[in-house]
């Protein structure tokens, strides 16, 4: 065991994992998080806490993770390299580990031009790849990035993102291989709508034996409306929504229900794919629907590790 987290244990046991995501509030209101915890408890193996997603200031991911621990849900703390240099990151994650956080998702982070402080200075001292390696070295070598040694290391189960829908497509499997090389333990992918493209990526990863070296959790984002689908397709860099999906949303009598249905269908497909070890359901500001999706996908009850 690298960290001994619930998520790690479930994956190690060869069971199909389910994670979800909680967005912290744009305030100091801890109750928002507690309420969302209530919705998810018992339905997911762990929940990600986003780190100032889309560069909009929110309650700190590590602080939120601590609230999750209090509420009895295992957190996956997200950590971007946008806002902190290597000093701050190492320091924050030592703190997180000390609080009992056992999973970290290493990310580059959305560029701040999208957020509510576009005039801010970004950091990008290291990139997400280097973040993985740095945390692995801290955990396995008990070394800081600079090479200095420590006595108690942070035991963290290391995650990273993969996006089969970004370009250049040919490089996406190479990049997965690089992340594995850097020391990643699990991958959560970008939301999947274009299943054939995802399969193409996965098949190549399978062929190269990569899926045996890392756990892959397929990302699923339920759609709320045809408009949202079109927005994601046209405006969100690195995401793809096929026209068939948009048409289904457009033609549905109850668009929200259709979105849930599509998500469930996608999970059904993911369950049967070689090399997929779980799903990551990102119901953005729609956490209440996660239990339904998990249930309808036949993923209940969640195993105890």
């Amino acid at each position: 065991m690298k960290a001994g987290s619930n998520l790690e244990k479930i994956l190690e046991a060869g069971k199909f994992a389910v994670t979800s995501e909680i967005g912290p509030p744009k305030s100091a209101n801890a109750n928002v998080i507690r309420k969302k915890c209530g919705m998810l408890k018992g339905f997911v193996d762990a929940a990600n806490i986003t780190d100032n997603q889309t560069a909009i200031v929110r309650l700190s991911s590590i602080a939120a993770a601590n609230i999750l621990l209090q509420e009895g849900i295992e957190p996956v703390a997200q950590m971007t390299v946008r806002d902190r240099n290597r000093i701050a990151i190492q320091s924050d994650l030592l703190g997180a580990a000390a609080l009992g956080v056992k999973n970290v998702l290493c990310l580059s982070g959305d560029h701040q031009v999208f957020g509510n402080h576009p005039q801010s200075k970004n950091v990008f001292d290291i990139d997400s790849m280097q973040l993985i390696r740095m945390l692995k070295d801290m955990r396995d070598e008990k070394k800081f990035e600079c090479g200095d040694e420590m006595d108690v290391e942070p035991r963290l189960f290391l995650g990273a993102a993969a996006n089969p829908f970004a370009d250049p497509f040919e490089f996406r499997v190479d990049r997965l291989a690089k992340k594995i090389d850097a020391g990643v333990d699990f991958i959560q992918t970008q939301g999947i709508y274009d299943v054939p493209r995802f399969e193409k990526w996965l098949n190549e990863a399978n062929d190269r034996g990569l899926t045996e070296k890392v756990y892959i959790l397929g990302g699923v984002i339920p759609l709320k409306s045809a408009g949202a689908a079109k927005y994601i397709k046209n405006k969100v860099a690195g995401m793809m929504v096929p026209d068939e999906v948009i048409d289904r949303m457009k033609n549905a009598s109850d668009a929200k229900q259709e979105g849930i249905k599509i998500a469930i269908e996608t999970i059904e497909q993911l369950k049967n794919m070689k090399g997929v070890h779980g799903v990551h359901v990102m119901a953005i500001e729609w956490e209440e629907k996660v239990p339904e999706i998990v249930k309808e996908s036949g993923l209940l009850p969640r195993p105890t590790a």
């Binding site: 580059s108 560029h111 997400s128 790849m129 370009d167 990049r175 860099a237």
Partner: protein, 223 residues
């Protein structure tokens, strides 16, 4: 070259408000070539200021002069006569030039007329693109001659992030993804190895994060 853009007029007028004898000082190298601070721009700005002065009922004496380079002491020294006639010098040089002029004419009010923007080249006439940040540790040998430090919005070193799509960067559809370009170039040259292997964190101390930089050619310096 060093690229600059003329400062907003409000800011210029605010700087010049207290003065009557104004010297607009053009620079004949980078900012001439990037069409922001050469003889022509100095003349245009001077024309504008004269109209402004007359409109405001001020009795302004606007002088224009352009020297070869404001970043060299000898050139800056040569225009002493012009500077002496002025109460204020509005330099259209890059920040380097403005500082040297300020240093050599400490007693005068020396103000910048430009915002120095970046180092780059003209893609087409009238449009410049930033392509070097002077980080002090060049990686171009590995990246197909495309600088990821400058041209990747996140200065990534290990390939494109998940926001790269259709060759464009996530920050805007007008910005190309540097890593897409790098990938294509390296693929063509069959040199993807570097990009496919893990690149460790950089040493940013050469990039100015280690404090103001200095370059000494020891072979040129007599101690």
């Amino acid at each position: 070259m060093i690229v600059g853009d003329r400062k907003p007029m409000d800011e210029i007028l605010e700087m010049l408000e207290p003065y009557e004898n104004i010297l607009i000082l053009g620079c004949g190298t980078c900012v001439t070539v990037c069409l922001s601070g050469g003889e022509r721009e100095a003349a245009i700005l001077a024309g504008q200021l004269r109209i402004w002065g007359k409109k405001e009922g001020k009795n302004l004496n606007i002088m224009e002069h352009t020297i070869q380079r404001q970043c060299e002491k000898e050139w800056v020294d040569e225009m002493r006569g012009h500077v002496e006639k002025a109460d204020v010098v509005l330099s259209l040089a890059c920040g380097v030039g403005v500082q040297l002029v300020a240093e050599m004419y400490e007693e005068k009010a020396i103000y910048p007329g430009l915002n120095t923007t970046f180092m780059g080249y003209p893609v087409v006439h009238g449009t410049w693109l930033e392509n070097c940040r002077g980080c002090g540790n060049c990686v171009l040998a590995h990246t197909g001659g495309v600088c990821p430090i400058t041209r990747c919005a996140k200065s990534l070193l290990n390939g494109p992030c998940g926001g790269s799509q259709d060759g464009k960067c996530e920050i805007s559809k007008d910005t190309e993804c540097a890593w897409q370009v790098i990938y294509e170039r390296l693929k063509k040259k069959d040199q993807l190895d570097w990009m496919n292997s893990y690149q460790p964190p950089r040493d940013w101390s050469t990039a100015g994060d280690g404090g103001p930089r200095k370059s000494v050619k020891i072979e040129e310096v007599i101690d």
